[in-house]
Subunit: 355 residues, 2 copies
């Protein structure tokens, strides 16, 4: 029954709710075009599809008829006939207002467009239930493939679908409970390089402000950072670990709290763009701010002089779309994982001296 949840059927066609208005035309069908051109349905179809073996004069007549009626192919009918699968690829992600998600969407859309595929987007609002119902809705629409930046932890419910010919690609978070292609960021490596960078600058009391630890990318970043600290034999960071910080305001509060400590940290590592934004707000009015490195690059980081662990966000979408397209085109074989590399971009904030 889940296939209906929240998705009421479209209104049945009715000619009464729209006051009979002569300017509202019904959309002509191929049958009508054929009739006007004086040929059979099938011949009209052939002509408009530029199939071979249509007499030139016939083709012209059909084309004229189609133009004069304002005919437009009905993709729904075509898709049904051709195999009940659409030219759509679904993307379930967080809010596009977050530049990470919109960059991914942009990269995916650009890649898909080259193959004549359209991208449908839906926002899971970080709600596992909603995500499931969106996936259901996409599958009902017979998307050719599904790109998911999952919010839900458990993806097992997708396993059965994965075997039904709809390729899944997981972005940013590895699939849990099923084998599927994935495009991930080198979270541990990026976080490690951030940690090493700060250690290299002489910092010991390094705070880490992290998001929900249940999310895999966050775990990777935490692990990477911790491993850098361990390798250097540093334990002074431990009092400054803050996780479960989930939005900009909370990050700002958290950083203010860190600064207010008797012995504040001399450096801060924030594990995603939202948290970096919050930290920047908190640090804004500081005379002698701690060093700061943020995970995820962002617009104007150069102007602000913020050191970041950067990675190509649109590449994530692009690569995911590419993997999906390969599957659509018939590629079989075991699940693949692409890891997008990171690079630390020093812009000043991460190079402040400890004090």
């Amino acid at each position: 029954m889940s296939y209906l949840r929240g998705f009421p059927p479209p209104n049945p066609r009715s000619d009464i709710d729209m006051p009979s208005d002569e300017t509202t035309l019904r959309r002509p069908t191929l049958t009508e075009v054929a009739a006007l051109a004086g040929v059979s349905l099938k011949t009209a179809s052939r002509a408009l599809n530029r199939e071979p073996n249509v007499a030139a004069s016939t083709g012209r007549r059909v084309q004229d008829a189609a133009d004069s009626l304002g005919y437009r192919l009905n993709g729904i009918a075509r898709e049904l006939r051709r195999g009940a699968t659409s030219a759509l690829v679904g993307l379930v992600s967080g809010d596009l207002a977050n530049p990470f998600y919109s960059a991914v969407a942009s990269g995916a859309e650009r890649e898909l467009r080259q193959h004549g595929l359209l991208l449908i987007t839906a926002n899971n609002d970080e709600d596992g239930e909603l995500e499931r119902s969106l996936v259901d809705a996409f599958l009902e629409r017979r998307v050719r493939a599904l790109l998911v930046i999952p919010s839900a932890d458990d993806h097992e419910y997708l396993a059965i679908e994965g075997n039904r010919g709809v390729p899944f690609v997981f972005l940013d978070r590895p699939p849990d409970g099923l084998a599927a292609d994935a495009v991930l960021i080198d979270n541990a490596g990026g976080a490690r390089s951030a940690g090493e960078h700060l250690l290299g600058g002489g910092h010991r009391r390094i705070a880490m402000v992290a998001d929900l630890a249940r999310m895999a990318p966050q775990r990777g970043r935490i692990d990477g950072f911790v491993s850098a600290m361990k390798s250097a034999g540093n334990i002074d960071w431990e009092p400054y670990l803050r996780t479960e910080v989930h939005d900009v305001r909370h990050a700002e509060r958290t950083v203010r709290g860190l600064l207010a400590l008797d012995e504040p940290p001399s450096a801060i590592f924030t594990t995603n763009n939202r948290l970096t934004t919050g930290a920047l707000r908190a640090l804004r009015d500081q005379v002698n701010p701690p060093a700061l490195v943020g995970f995820d690059d962002f617009d104007l980081a150069d102007v602000l002089g913020t050191t970041v662990v950067a990675h190509d966000m649109s590449a994530i979408g692009r690569e995911a779309a590419r993997l999906a397209y390969e599957r659509i085109s018939g590629h079989t074989g075991p699940a693949r994982t692409i890891v997008i590399s990171t690079s630390l971009i020093a812009r000043g904030s991460g190079e402040r001296f400890p004090h």
Copy 2:
């Protein structure tokens, strides 16, 4: 013929390109569910759709059969039967990597979701030809409505479609050559307030860095700014007008050029987010930077202390989706225009004194 451009038909279903793999299941149809449940096709349909007048025991049997087969309704077939119109709404805009477009998309998607509609997005790459073919592709897929942030100047080609029952909503740019709903920003008012704000701060030599003047929003912003200058009897801005500045790099160069003048402007007004970004880059290393007001708010503008003309971008998408939904639901009547208001947010950069 345009209806095919760039959109090859999906591959016909074939059972050979995918090596016969027992784990790949064909998706069952309602007929198969009905057979397994031992009822007719129609009864199965009724049961799964929760229509009245289905015996409880029958309903259960059908449900079980559907579950055990992993049945999922075929939305394509349903849509064809119900009237060849989908549950999709199309959005044609610029690249989602631009926060303006992604905010609009986010607002639209959120609103549509409440009505069980899905958003398809496509990037026109600022190319009128591509835009047309994307609109064609959307119409072929029988979108219920179309939201367009047009790049093309001439929208007359849409006029015939508008009368065929597909509601169009224009965002950010008014329709040209046809009557359609629109959601616009108060460009002139916002730009006027920016101009007045700078004049009020004592500035006279005010530069305006604007994007392509052929785009309506830019014209509105230019006009608003100019009218503020005229009202104040100021003509000192005229040597500093720069239009046709279309990207971040170009904006940066342009602003550097302005600063290098013998008599540089004491204030700068940039007419969109990209240009503001470029200006900020150019101003970054200035000891005594000119005042700056930018059109469009942006992330971290507060941290940077940038004064902007703000407006609610996601509201543009939301209102457009609302207008579209009303039309979908049968609303008729003349084209409506919603104007989103702007407000100047002073954060420091616009309040620097002239020198």
